[in-house]
């Protein structure tokens, strides 16, 4: 046989990859050993992992090969931050393109691709991913867990999540994050995009990971925690994770089934067409999960506010029991309101009556939560640090977002503002102010731990806060005003009468984008300064 040059290149590449893989594994094992204490070095993996996930841990790419809970948390945090910046870039691109009433530098198809990526990645990649990350990272130290099993399962589920996110990015789907039935199955550029089914598979991957992670959270909380921590004295962040996990497990599978049925309908359309069903069947199954996911995104942020607020006010939470009850009521009621997304779809007056009433009811636990925070602030003295600024902004944003939200429960008002930028303004107030704001607050609090004892640049941090908070208002208030006049959302172009609102929102969007760049610069710049403080943080204080 002749000497084959290609075969030689191929063989040596594989050999180099194997050697690199071996070296990587060796270095990571070395790093893991350096983290373990003397007596843990010979302990079984379950106990060694439990030890690893209780101690303070730095951000490190070694986490991608280790499988204790803290490493999994770090993986989710890094990945979800990456998704956040990709999706944020898509959002800013959309804003700039909407400067003129007619599509300017983005064609409608390009705009729709960015629309879909922004929605799916922000919700599934950033909101869900950052919550999973913070859950995996904080729960073991807050609960002082005794054993950390199922690391391999956690690891596989993380890769499901990462691949799902990549599928969402590269599928170039234009079906928007609803993936409503007939549109998703139109495999053309003008319809749902040629590969919209790949995006659906990505969503399925992410939801699988989310469900499994939720079950593991519940296992950690109820089975693996230290006996000394009684259920009645668990921290409120842990309670918020309980509520979130139950909400995910009870609603996400319905949407996963619907996604599977849509994929099957591509080959053989039987489920959402024909005599027994209409396209609304998919919408109903989708919103059964589509509404709970927004509560999934905010309830852990509530938990973080409960957790951090007392530390900057100097007083314990005003009422622990009403906090827990409000979180659990939120969990129960938020599973019953999803029908309000379909008020105008002609499902009947009774449907509207039931779901508008439940939507009013869900405001009660939200109000209890807000009053609890206000009473906590009232009873103490505020120390205005950077995380505290994010918390105060989150409370204000949640009040505005909540009031603009509960207004939509009225069916008559809903016919006026459903499908307009009013709705976009409502959930951006909450998702930007509460979910994203509290994720950043947690990152700032954990920064010394993440970087092994370094301090972030306070001036840049404050600038990040002001640009984020200010940009949110500059962007969403014009949306709300325009939405009340009938400015439709998800459009690549619009009537000229709405241009002033869109231009103001574009300026807000650019301000927001610049703010996040400053966060990135601050993070990288501060992470390589010399070590000046201890690597402790107030969020994990309970463990020590």
């Amino acid at each position: 046989m002749n000497f084959s040059f290609e075969l030689a290149i191929f063989g040596s590449t594989i050999a180099v990859l194997i050697i690199m893989g071996f070296l990587l594994y060796f270095f990571v094992q070395d790093y893991r050993k350096s983290l373990l204490s003397k007596e843990m070095e010979t302990a079984p993996k379950e106990q060694a992992n439990a030890y690893l996930s209780r101690i303070r841990r730095e951000l490190s790419f070694s986490a991608f090969i280790m499988d204790d809970s803290k490493s999994i948390g770090i993986r989710y945090l890094i990945t979800s931050l990456a998704f956040f910046f990709i999706a944020g870039l898509a959002g800013v691109g959309m804003r700039i393109s909407l400067w003129y009433p007619n599509p300017s530098y983005l064609t409608p198809i390009q705009y729709n691709i960015l629309l879909t990526e922004h929605g799916t990645l922000m919700l599934y990649g950033w909101a869900t991913g950052s919550i999973l990350g913070l859950g995996y990272y904080l729960l073991p130290s807050l609960l002082k867990i005794k054993k950390d099993s199922l690391g391999v399962l956690n690891s596989i589920m993380y890769w499901f999540f990462a691949v799902g996110g990549l599928l969402l990015i590269f599928s170039k789907s234009t079906a928007s994050w609803y993936f409503y039935y007939p549109l998703t199955d139109q495999l053309t550029q003008a319809g749902g995009g040629q590969f919209s089914f790949a995006a659906l598979i990505g969503v399925l991957f992410i939801l699988t990971a989310t469900c499994v992670a939720s079950i593991i959270f519940l296992k950690m909380i109820f089975l693996d925690r230290d006996e000394k921590i009684r259920i009645s004295s668990m921290s409120l962040f842990v309670w918020s994770i309980v509520a979130t996990a139950i909400l995910i497990i009870s609603s996400a599978p319905i949407s996963m089934i619907a996604d599977g049925m849509v994929i099957y309908d591509l080959i053989n359309p039987i489920y959402f067409t024909g005599a027994n069903s209409t396209a609304l069947g998919y919408a109903i199954m989708f919103w059964f999960w589509g509404h709970p996911i927004v509560y999934v995104a905010v309830i852990p942020a509530f938990g973080l506010i409960y957790e951090l607020l007392p530390k900057y006010v100097g007083k314990p939470v005003y009422s622990y029991s009403s906090g827990v009850i409000a979180l659990l009521l939120l969990m129960i009621f938020s599973g019953t309101v999803w029908g309000h997304h379909l008020f105008n779809s002609g499902l009947g007056t009774l449907w509207d009556m039931i779901f508008s009433t439940t939507s009013f009811i869900v405001a009660i636990p939200s109000a209890i939560t807000v009053f609890n925070w206000i009473a906590t602030i009232w009873s103490g003295k505020v120390k205005l640090t950077l995380p505290m600024m994010f918390i105060l902004n989150a409370i204000v944003d949640f009040i505005i977002g909540g009031v603009t939200g509960v207004m939509q429960s009225d069916v008559g008002v809903n016919a006026l503002i459903h499908g307009t930028y009013w709705v976009t303004a409502h959930f951006h107030f909450i998702l930007l102010g509460v979910t994203t704001g509290m994720a950043f607050a947690a990152i700032y609090v954990l920064f010394p731990t993440f970087t092994g004892g370094r301090r972030y640049n306070s001036a840049m941090g404050k600038l990040h806060f002001y640009l984020t908070a200010g940009g949110t208002y500059v962007m969403t208030i014009p949306w709300a005003l325009g939405g009340f006049e009938g400015m439709p959302r998800r459009v690549a172009g619009y009537f000229g009468i709405f241009q002033s609102y869109q231009d103001a929102a574009a300026i807000g969007g650019v301000i927001l984008g610049i703010g996040q760049l400053i966060f990135l610069i601050n993070f990288v710049y501060s992470a390589y300064k010399p070590v000046t403080i201890s690597n402790d943080n107030i969020l994990e204080e309970a463990s020590s």
């Binding site: 629309l115 609304l280 009947g348 509207d352 009433t357």
Partner: protein, 146 residues
């Protein structure tokens, strides 16, 4: 009673009163003004009937006398109309902001809604359920004649 318990009771009761008022107002609107919100088509709709079909990416209005108009709806003031809305392909959503009229267009599930324009003028009309490439061009005008 301890002041803390009193305080908590006040904030729960106050919220309950406001929300109950809003919920009852909403329920009474729903039970008296049923024809003004989207409902499945059928029965004996009040006023003049207009059939509306949404398709990618335009609205088609068919009057009783056979007149067909695309992306333009002409009405007469102080007359009650009932529109029956359906779709040829994906889900659309007909929205006339100034009238507070909004109704989904779903293939195989026709919906109706009634309204009475009372002020002559020109208004806008849009599709507000995302429906593909030229979703934003699925819009038109509503002219109300005196």
């Amino acid at each position: 009673m301890k002041s803390k318990t009193l305080f908590e009771l006040i904030w729960i009761v106050a919220v309950l009163i406001i929300l109950t008022y809003a919920a009852v107002a909403n329920l009474s609107y729903l039970s008296t003004q049923q024809q003004n919100i989207a409902n499945p088509a059928g029965g004996d709709p009040p006023g003049v009937l207009i059939n509306v079909t949404g398709y990618q990416w335009a609205w088609q209005f068919t009057y009783n006398n056979g007149t067909v108009m695309t992306d333009k709806l002409v009405l007469v003031a102080n007359t009650t109309y009932t529109i029956v809305v359906t779709s040829k392909d994906v889900i659309h959503d007909l929205y006339i902001p100034q009238f507070g009229v909004q109704v989904y267009a779903v293939a195989g599930h026709p919906n109706k809604v009634s309204f009475t324009p009372n002020k002559p003028g020109t208004y806008i009309m849009e599709c507000v359920e995302y429906c593909g490439e030229f979703h934003y061009e699925m819009r038109g005008e509503v002219v109300v004649l005196s």
